[in-house]
């Protein structure tokens, strides 16, 4: 009898527990129509004020998606700018200007303007890491020569979403030309947290006339303004120090072994014409040494290449010729790497991670040098050796023209 009564109580309790499932209601439900997808965030400095100008680039789905063809002249994105001391404040402030709640998980890029970067990005790392909606793989760019807001207002002709366009550009540039690189929040925070390494970031610049480029940017064949992923920004800690452009940017990537493919011109014997060489892959090895109580690095870069184009006559069946070309390419690589190191040393920004390597190989010495590493880095001797192996020469051995 008692057991029957207990069973009733237990079943009643179980019923109540199961009903709980439905008491939550639609707790964190967000309707698709109530969210505004933010794809890029830009940060500018407001002169004479202790606040930043945040710009959010929001996608308008009906213009982008092929399904419900928007028709009409509306641009595929819209931007909302908001002042604020912190990102959070700006997001909430933007709710005054946006009919929908801003939705960040699909944000691909952060664009910081140069001024903000020079002042220091330290304020932002906390927010970027702490917030659960911002992904750690979001790419960061530093603008070179323009404001972040301007970059975000430019429409792109090929990709409907400008953020996608910029992202793909930088990925492609890193892979095919190596004049810039793509760095995300995760990499940066790792670089900051690792002793003996400084962060660096990809740069973006605007070519053209931004005033003239509004929505009709994409209406004609030649857009009035384009966004270009170019250059690498060097940091010391949280402050922007300087830029690596073109060849020197590639130099940084040579040393880090991140060059996947690129092209280089080497002069012919007659100094007028050029041979164009395509780099197929590259590897870099860094050996630390201690010489006279000071750190020294030996960088060996190994690459494979193939002949892309020549405008002078070379006989590629001649192995001597190949060796000569290899040497010339090697010299060029070495020059670029030296340039990169030189510039980095000038800014005392150890983006190569030499400090980390010393830390791993000579921890005792590292303890001595840690606190003043930037000076040691500046004085450091770095020897670069580049080995090039030309594997292929395309479909011809001897070019058409005769010398």
């Amino acid at each position: 009898m008692k057991i029957k009564w207990m069973m009733k109580i237990i079943s009643l309790l179980l019923c109540f527990i199961f009903i709980n499932i439905f008491l939550t209601g639609c707790w964190s439900q967000r309707e698709l129509g109530d969210i505004s997808m933010v794809t890029s965030i830009g940060v500018d400095k407001i002169p004479n004020e202790d606040a930043y100008l945040f710009t959010f680039q929001i996608i308008i789905p009906s213009q982008v998606s092929p399904v419900k063809g928007g028709g009409g002249e509306q641009a595929p994105v819209t931007i909302i700018s908001q002042k604020g001391k912190t990102l959070f404040e700006a997001i909430r402030g933007a709710s005054q200007k946006a009919p929908n709640q801003l939705f960040f998980p699909h944000a691909r890029l952060f664009v910081f303007s140069e001024d903000v970067a020079k002042d220091g990005l330290g304020d932002f790392w906390d927010m970027l890491e702490r917030d659960h909606e911002i992904r750690p793989l979001t790419t960061i760019f530093i603008t070179k020569g323009s404001k972040a807001k301007t970059i975000l207002t430019i429409m792109t002709p090929i990709e409907k979403m400008p953020s996608d366009s910029l992202l793909e550009e930088s990925k492609l540039a890193e892979k095919r030309l190596a004049f810039t690189t793509r760095v995300d929040i995760d990499d940066t925070i790792k670089a900051i947290a690792t002793p003996g390494k400084e962060p660096f970031m990809g740069g973006v610049e605007m070519i053209g006339n931004s005033q003239a480029a509004q929505a009709d940017n994409i209406k004609q064949a030649e857009p009035k303004a384009i966004i270009k992923a170019n250059a690498i920004a060097l940091f010391y800690g949280e402050k922007l120090q300087g830029w690596l452009k073109d060849g020197s940017a590639r130099g940084l990537l040579w040393v880090l072994g991140k060059v996947k493919s690129t092209v280089m011109n080497v002069p012919c014997k007659n100094k007028e014409d050029f041979i164009n060489v395509e780099i197929l892959n590259s590897k870099a090895q860094i050996h630390p040494q201690i010489k006279n109580g000071r750190p020294k690095m030996q960088v060996t870069i190994d690459t494979e290449a193939s002949i892309g184009e020549t405008s002078c006559f070379i006989d590629l069946t001649d192995s001597e010729e190949i060796v000569r070309i290899q040497e010339r390419v090697g010299k060029q690589i070495k020059k670029e790497a030296d340039e990169a190191i030189h510039i980095a040393q000038k800014y005392k920004s150890d983006v190569f991670g030499f400090g980390t390597i010393i830390y791993r190989s000579y921890p005792g010495e590292w303890k001595k040098w840690e606190s003043s590493w930037k000076d040691h880095f500046k004085e450091m001797e770095v020897e670069v050796k580049a080995n090039v192996y030309i594997r292929r020469s395309g479909l011809r051995n001897k070019p058409l023209q005769n010398k």
Binding site: K4, K8, L12, I21, F22, T24, G25, C26, W27, S28, Q29, R30, E31, L32, G33, I35, M37, T39, I59, P61, S62, V64, S65, P66, V67, K68, F103, P105, H106, R108, E133
Partner: protein, 516 residues
């Protein structure tokens, strides 16, 4: 709040109340007088016109009145005519009996024996003198021969009548394989099995279940393969059935199966003799019910419901792949809609950006949240499905195509539902039909709605919890002693040869021989 204890609502028996009912069930013997017996019989049957009573006289000069009684349509007329013809030959030879004419009882006994010899040429004959044997026997289609002046009657087996011809099974069709399906007559069905399993160890036990209907039910199993325990359990459960009538095999299925509260079926039914023979060889028990072409198979575990006889008629490679497809479509049938609801309502981060953009674009005009849209579409589809069963064949396809197209297109254009939702519902519906067993497909229909509700309240978290709960429930479920998820859950390797993948026959042959 008071909790009332659950009353057990058993099948309330309604036996026809009749004073002389008692006379059939108790051990009353037949009367000596023919007229009296006939009167009692007619009274019992209420003077029904299909009870045929044929009276004739045999013997000379002293003739004995004899009546042959049978039910029209249940008994084979020709056999009875033959019997009566043969028995009239006694008239010619009646001179032999003149000698013992004086001894009446012996005379009748002689005639009786003579007719019994004749009846042995017609069919199986037994002699009885109790009403409780006579009436059920008449209803089975046998002939009762009554003798004036004798208690004893001849009970001749003359079962006949018309049945549906053996035709293709309607529900479990295969491309290549036998096109025979069971019909409503137990004896035909048993013969179909006997032709396939020509072994003397194939046992059949018949019984009658149902107070009023006295439906024939037969159990079939192969001795040595079947587990004794299961057999005993099945027989016990069948004997305990206390109901008015068994009209379909589902009635027995429900009364026999486990008392657990589950949407999953624990007894499978089949219309195909080849599938049934295969199950018998695996040690299962088959139950035939007169009047239903579907035989029950006990015990049935989860993997049995996702098998089809098609698997054995095609090569092992393709049938293994198709089986995997079935398992996947089982999951699709339950989880497509719920996962879509969960992701679109709570987890927008998971969706790839481009797809999310088109989803937002699609849902621009839709007035209500995803769950309502989903429930609406699923509900409409269930209505369509139910209606489709009753649509006359002539206009069926037209209406279904027009209906699907029109409803789908129109609803999307009107902005009532989004195109993606239509795709998801269509996928769910189609994968539901990929499940071979109809009872399992129905289980998924029930579960789908539960999961949709869960998804709408707790997103993927809820769906995962629900899935875990479902698996835990399946692990605990048993079908007549066998674990429901065997051979996966109590894992034994030999069982897995034919569960998801179908190993080639060369590796399958040494399966359970005498197991117990």
């Amino acid at each position: 709040m008071k909790i009332s204890s659950r009353k057990s609502y058993k099948n309330k028996k309604k036996t026809p109340t009749n004073d002389s009912t008692a006379s059939i069930l108790d051990d009353r013997q037949l009367n000596l007088e023919l007229q009296e017996n006939l009167r009692i019989l007619k009274h019992e049957f209420g003077n029904t016109t299909d009870l045929i009573i044929r009276k004739f006289v045999i013997g000379s000069p002293k003739s004995i009145e004899i009546a042959a009684i049978y039910m029209e349509g249940l008994a084979d007329d020709e056999l009875i005519n033959e019997f009566i013809t043969h028995s009239h030959s006694l008239m010619v030879e009646s001179t032999e009996l003149l000698e013992i004419e004086n001894n009446q009882i012996a005379y009748i006994q002689n005639i009786f024996n003579f007719l019994k010899e004749i009846s042995l040429t017609i069919g199986k004959t037994t002699v009885t003198s109790y009403w409780k044997d006579v009436i059920p026997s008449l209803l089975d289609g046998n002939t009762i021969v009554l003798f004036d002046g004798s208690h004893d009657v001849l009970n001749i087996s003359t079962v006949g009548g018309n049945y549906r011809a053996i035709s293709e099974p309607t529900t479990q069709a295969v491309v290549r394989g036998s096109k025979e399906g069971f019909i409503e007559s137990i004896s035909s069905n048993i013969v179909m099995i006997r032709r396939r399993v020509k072994n003397e160890k194939l046992r059949i036990e018949k019984m009658k279940i149902g107070e009023v209907s006295n439906t024939d039910v037969a159990i079939m199993y192969i001795e040595g393969f079947v587990k004794d325990q299961t057999l005993v359990e099945v027989k016990q459960k069948l004997e305990k059935i206390d109901t008015n009538a068994i009209l379909e095999s589902n009635h027995i299925e429900e009364l026999i199966q486990e008392k657990a509260l589950t949407p999953f079926p624990t007894v499978s039914s089949t219309e195909r003799p080849d599938q049934l023979s295969r199950s018998l060889l695996e040690g299962k028990i088959a139950i035939f019910v007169e009047g239903t072409p579907f035989a029950l198979v006990i015990p049935s575990v989860f993997s049995d419901f996702l098998k089809s006889s098609e698997d054995y008629t095609l090569s092992y490679a393709i049938s293994s792949l198709i089986r995997i497809l079935r398992y996947i479509s089982f999951h699709f049938s339950i989880f497509s809609s719920p996962i879509y609801i969960a992701i679109v309502t709570y987890h927008h981060e998971i969706i790839p950006t481009n797809f999310l953009i088109s989803l937002i674009a699609q849902r621009q005009g839709v007035p209500y949240p995803v769950i309502i849209e989903a429930l609406l579409l699923e509900f409409t589809f269930e209505i369509l499905r139910e209606a489709g069963i009753r649509i006359p064949r002539a206009i069926g396809p037209t209406i279904s195509i027009a209906g699907a197209l029109v409803i789908g297109e129109a609803a999307v254009s009107a902005g009532l539902v989004s195109p993606t939702m239509t795709i998801v519902v269509a996928l769910t519906a189609i994968s539901n039909f990929a499940i071979p067993s109809y009872s399992m497909a129905n289980a998924t229909r029930i579960l789908r709605f539960t999961f949709m509700l869960l998804a709408s309240f707790s997103g993927l978290y809820g769906v995962t919890l629900g899935y875990l709960l479902m698996i835990a429930h399946l692990c605990k479920l048993r079908s007549f002693g066998s674990h429901y998820l065997s051979p996966f859950s109590p894992f034994y390797l030999s069982g897995n040869q034919d569960a998801i993948l179908r190993f080639p026959f060369s590796l399958l042959d040494n399966k359970s021989k005498e197991n117990n």
